[in-house]
């Protein structure tokens, strides 16, 4: 039964921290489909190493350490692909990424009301770009504005969202 109990706890941790691992990997890999691949690889490695996982050990630092190795391996192996960061930079930013990714669920909770306070026009832009994954050109065409204008607008809205999330995550209570 001990193995089962351990597996149960392991899976619970893995599930609970899945978003954090994703946030960490994405921030260093900079691409959603690649990040998804690396997270899956990380999950597999974690599962194979379940023997190393002790119940009293903190799961997240351990998972981040494995994820870090996967990210670096990915960046080194795919050198010929277009990548935003190289392995050295990713390594240098790993600690910061861990710190921020830990908070991703809090950020998501804060994001929802922040999206709500956007003006309808701004929300529409965010929706087209992020929720319907339209390209910038398509967004520009759909709202009859230039690509440049849409970029400026989206950057501004993102900044507003970031500020709002920042306030909401620090001001609560």
């Amino acid at each position: 039964m001990e193995q089962t109990d351990n597996s149960e706890i392991f899976v619970r941790h893995l599930t609970e921290h899945q978003n954090r691992i994703y946030g960490y990997v994405f921030s260093l890999v900079g691409d959603h489909s690649r990040a998804a691949d690396v997270v899956q690889e990380t999950n597999l490695v974690l599962w194979r190493k379940i023997g190393e996982f002790k119940q009293d050990r903190e799961f997240l630092p351990w998972a981040f350490a494995i994820a870090r190795i996967q990210v670096l391996a990915h960046l080194r192996d795919r050198k010929r692909d277009r990548l935003l960061l190289d392995a050295e930079l990713a390594e240098a930013m790993s600690v910061e990424a861990e710190k921020q990714a830990e908070k991703i669920d809090i950020i998501r909770e804060a994001l929802r009301p922040c999206l709500q306070v956007l003006t309808p026009t701004n929300r529409e832009l965010i929706e087209r770009r992020y929720f319907r994954s339209m390209s910038i050109d398509d967004v520009a065409e759909s709202v009859d504005r230039t690509t440049g204008a849409v970029k400026v607008a989206l950057l501004r809205i993102r900044r507003q969202l970031a500020d709002c999330v920042q306030q909401r995550t620090t001001a609560g209570g």
Partner: protein, 567 residues
Amino acid sequence: MNSKLEELESLLFDWEAGTLSDEGVERVREILRSDEDAKAFFVQQQVLTAALKLDVDAGLEPPAMESPAVEPSTVEERIPVLNPSVSRKQLNRDSRINLWAAFAGLCLICVLAVRVFYLEASKSSGPESIAGINDLQHGEKGEATSSGIALVTSLVDVIWEADQSPLEVGDALSPGRLAIVSGFAQIEFFCGATVIVEGPAELDLKSVSAARVHHGRLRAQVPPAARGFSLELDDMKLVDLGTEFGVSMSPDGADVQVFDGEVELHKPGQSKRLMTTGQAGVFKEDGTFQVEQIQPEQFLDIATLELRAKSQDESRYQAWKLWSSNFQRDSRLIAYYSFDEEGDWKRKLKSSIQAESGELDGAIVGANRVQGRWSSKSALEFKRPGDRVRMHIPGEFSSLTLSCWVKIDSLDRWYNSLFLTDGYNQGEPHWQILDTGQLFFSVRHKSDDARGPDARKRTHHIVLSPPFWKPSLSGRWLHLATTYDAGSGKTKHYLNGDLLHEEEIAKDLLVKTTRIRDASIGNWTLPTEEDTEFAVRNLNGSIDEFAIFAAALSASEIKEIYNHGKP
């Protein structure tokens, strides 16, 4: 933001859009290598993008502006989105579900490797946010909707049929049965027709301009705008042509009296009959028509109903006054403001009880005096960002109960204050409503400078009710209460005397000794802020009666406050 960060922001945007050149990639790396701030900024941007992406994967739509109305009873099962403790619990539960899904599969590794990620991505913050957001906040995109065909605008001595859920003034009525044993109900159809129903009566509301009368007496006033308003009386249909008339339905037949204007009566197999001012008659069960004398005094008119409503209002107010004068003798009361001082308030909110130490009177800042729950009673309206009542309440307590009557116009702020302590220091409570319509109560446990992992850094346990607010409650007097048991940590939220939510505060965040000290009703004052900017948390609405107890009141005591105080 410095120019380097701005440049990085722009480059990152292009990268995401897939338009960044190789030189651009090199420039990103250059900036990151040279600047620590840029590294932190970069990660921050990426985590925000990842958070947005997770929402997309979870199928969350970006929220629409207004929330469609949701009955509190249907949201009990939904877990608030902004409650860290609950979502953690929920996450654990999800993990269990995932776990069993995983074990149920033949190939555990495959399941783990492939499914955990997707399961998690779609369940990430739990069904609560999916159900919560889609159904509650923005189930349908666009404008908020509400339903109904008529409004209840006055009720005098109404006793409802046993199977009819009691209605209140201001309630919107949907098509369906309306049955009263006795008393008078004034119904305004959305078409513009006003009907006074006298019990015993039973009606079927059909549409914004039609109803069926099974039995009972009613008087209708139909202004020109509402012309065409119709009533079904047995097999007969009465169509109004802009008038005032009375109808009394009994087993013997339909008694129709036209006080002003004209009505048309349609009966199958007969030519339509026109009745005009001053005409009256009974359509008998056997199909005959018997002319009679008009008797308008048999049908209560709007003006008389208004007078009766006013006297009912006055007597309810007097009854509350009597109850309140007894209520304020409750030795558990720490502070009680009845908002019922006569004469000039001189910008003071008079305390209804005397404290042994010091003065409990509140100082009114900005808030205007307006009509309260009854026409002869006052309340304070909080509208502008500065409006508040300041008070100082000395002493140390353990358990607490906060109770107030509040009329919410809308929830415009992230935090809409009911009662907030200034410093929110250790042992001090915060009581407010989130823009999501959730009642919020917390007592600060640890000071702000607590360090350690996030879990240990938490300084309070927030108890959030499910969203209880819907736009149709706007302008309605609501009774809100929260009880906090410092022994067990059990915290309960009540709306209109009924339990809304119950939760136990985590043992490590349970506060045994509570304090109030400097606090505000209807707003929040940050003690450290000199002037300039302040967090806008003012309530957009009015408060009438506010009480704090040094004990956790029982459900029946809360119910009693509600029953005696409801308008």
